[in-house]
Symmetry: C2
Subunit: 362 residues, 2 copies
């Protein structure tokens, strides 16, 4: 076969790039680098159905290659809708055979939180890179086990922190990094919505529900990302105004954080209240975001007149494209497992504070 010079150079460059890669999974059987990584979504609930699958129609570095579901009717629907080959459709029993499927480069775990650990570990053992939805897991021990499994199997782990890929969120993160208005003094961070569902995993303790891991992680990230610091203590109060629905887990969580610099944060999250905003007061100015963690339209303003209002096509598409680009280039992920663990460490302390009624050191 005759090879043109351009093709030769291209293949040589790719071979060079390939040495940077941590996993053979990024290559097709012929070891030719892919231009898009194949993603298999595990768990076909609302987030996969309404957000991730549509986003994967817009991605440039990723495509919907496979699905893992326990519901045959969903498999059938998705197969037709997204033209997914039968061989790329798994259930929870035969999931581990995904190891032998070169179409699947990344397994994206979109299951209820209590199942994250099992499926991240199984995906890692199958030699696949893993994306995992937030909250990373119900406990620090789970998160550590997930990180270890990925390290042991030489695959990467990214948490589905779409917001950290959003330039509007990055804008306020940068204000802290650059000390644009001096030190951060006080943060108020709220994230909640009225959830009318009555029998969802978000209301089940066994499945990892409760508002804290779900919307609460956005309220927490507002404070962590706005300060650029990790909290050293927390006090939290859990409450419920619909005890008939929130029998096992909290509907609302309020918590106060203390940071090493002396900055303080007051955070609120709820499945009973529509709210989504961030207010940061610095030594010499302020910043506001509202919404602060929406799927789109995050925007804000600062005391010097700066407006934060970057348009992005699709947040989840940007997240998956950037994570896949990092996997292909062997560069750092924006939100690796360690970042998910940082949140869960605080979440665990928050529940401990609720239980003890006292401030908990982190």
């Amino acid at each position: 076969m005759k090879m043109k010079r351009r093709d030769f150079l291209s293949k040589t460059a790719m071979a060079g790039a390939a040495t940077l890669l941590s996993s053979p999974a990024l290559f097709s059987g012929s070891f030719r680098p892919k231009d898009k990584l194949g993603i298999a979504l595990v768990g076909l609930g609302y987030y996969s159905t309404d957000l991730l699958a549509p986003a994967l129609q817009l991605t440039e570095k990723a495509y919907l290659a496979g699905i893992v579901t326990g519901t045959p009717s969903k498999a059938e629907t998705w197969k037709k809708k997204y033209n997914i080959p039968e061989k790329n459709i798994y259930n929870y029993q035969n999931f581990d055979q995904i190891a032998n499927n070169p179409d699947i480069d990344v397994v994206y775990v979109v299951l209820p939180p209590s199942m994250h650990r099992e499926y991240v570990v199984r995906a890692a053992k199958a030699g696949k890179h893993v994306f995992c939805e937030k909250p990373m897991a119900p406990s620090v021990a789970d998160c550590e086990a997930m990180i270890k499994a990925c390290n042991d199997n030489k695959v990467k782990l990214a948490i589905g922190y779409r917001c950290q890929h959003d330039p509007n969120i990055q804008a306020y993160m940068n204000v802290a990094k650059q000390q644009k208005f001096g030190k951060v003094k006080m943060v108020t961070s709220a994230a909640g919505y009225f959830d009318g569902r009555t029998n969802h995993w978000k209301q089940s303790k066994a499945l990892g529900g409760g508002v804290m891991g779900d919307m609460g992680v956005y309220a927490l990230q507002g404070a962590r990302l706005a300060t650029g610091e990790e909290p050293i203590s927390v006090f939290a109060q859990a409450s419920t105004t619909r005890p008939e629905i929130y029998k096992e887990v909290e509907e609302t969580m309020m918590f106060m954080l203390e940071f090493p610099s002396g900055a303080r944060a007051s955070c609120q999250t709820s499945f009973g209240i529509n709210m989504n905003y961030l207010q940061v007061n610095y030594e010499k100015g302020w910043l506001k975001m509202e919404p602060q963690s929406g799927y789109n339209g995050n925007k804000g303003s600062m005391s010097d007149g700066t407006i934060i209002n970057f348009a992005i096509k699709n947040q989840q598409a940007k997240q998956m494209d950037e994570d896949c680009a990092a996997l292909m280039a062997g560069t750092a992920l924006i939100a690796p497992g360690e970042e998910g663990l940082r949140d869960i460490r605080v979440v665990e302390a928050i529940y401990k504070s609720v239980k003890t009624g006292k401030v908990v050191k982190i």
Copy 2:
């Protein structure tokens, strides 16, 4: 002396109105009703000098009739500047003789908080109505003693809650009253400023300092007035980033409130942070104020597009005019001693929470 019919009717009407009045102090020696009440300011610090005295040049129902000060040079300056008769100038020793001065209808106590009780009680015993600056006093016991002294002496007690006279604040109070957006679910209320002073009563425990009683009462009122309810529990954390200045009292206080309806509030106040805002999330909408407790320019917006932005000439003038009008008409005061007590009851619980590290029931 010949009396015109108009004069006769006028005097008859006034005599009728007089029966509504609770104290003879509202009349001059000749028992002719005054058109303006004479106010004596006790304590000539910043607030009297820069806010109340100028406001008393604009009032229609009150005028600056006298002063009480321990500093002879201040007495001299004020006497000249405001044309105050020598006989209406008192010091802290001869203050009680104010009882015999028909020019003074109201004693306005503008001293450090730890001195409020003594001077309110002495003013009440002198038969004068009393205005008292916020915080009403350092303890519930003090407040109760002040209320009792005024009741016993048949004089009225108003707390200098200028904000409750501000139509911008009344606008958000009405939203809760009318349940415009349904129940209140979550309130965030912040009030603070960077105080560069190093040796002020605000930094002295003995004088009733600490941010909680000062700016903290605005943060607390934001939550109380936005819900229209009294809190039933509180958790609070005190902190200080300038321990060399805030040796005796807190620079910053954060507290979480629980209300009978299930509404929750998160409040922050500080002498180290410029911040002044209120955010209320209701069942079916939201309201924001910023600033929420300024001397002027308080303004806000609501989720239905309503703008809150009433122009007022002078907040303190409006407060004193309305309080004096109520005294003259014998009608209810907007913020009587009982309203000051409501705040101090929470403030006391806040300090108890700081001391115990636990949630305190109120």
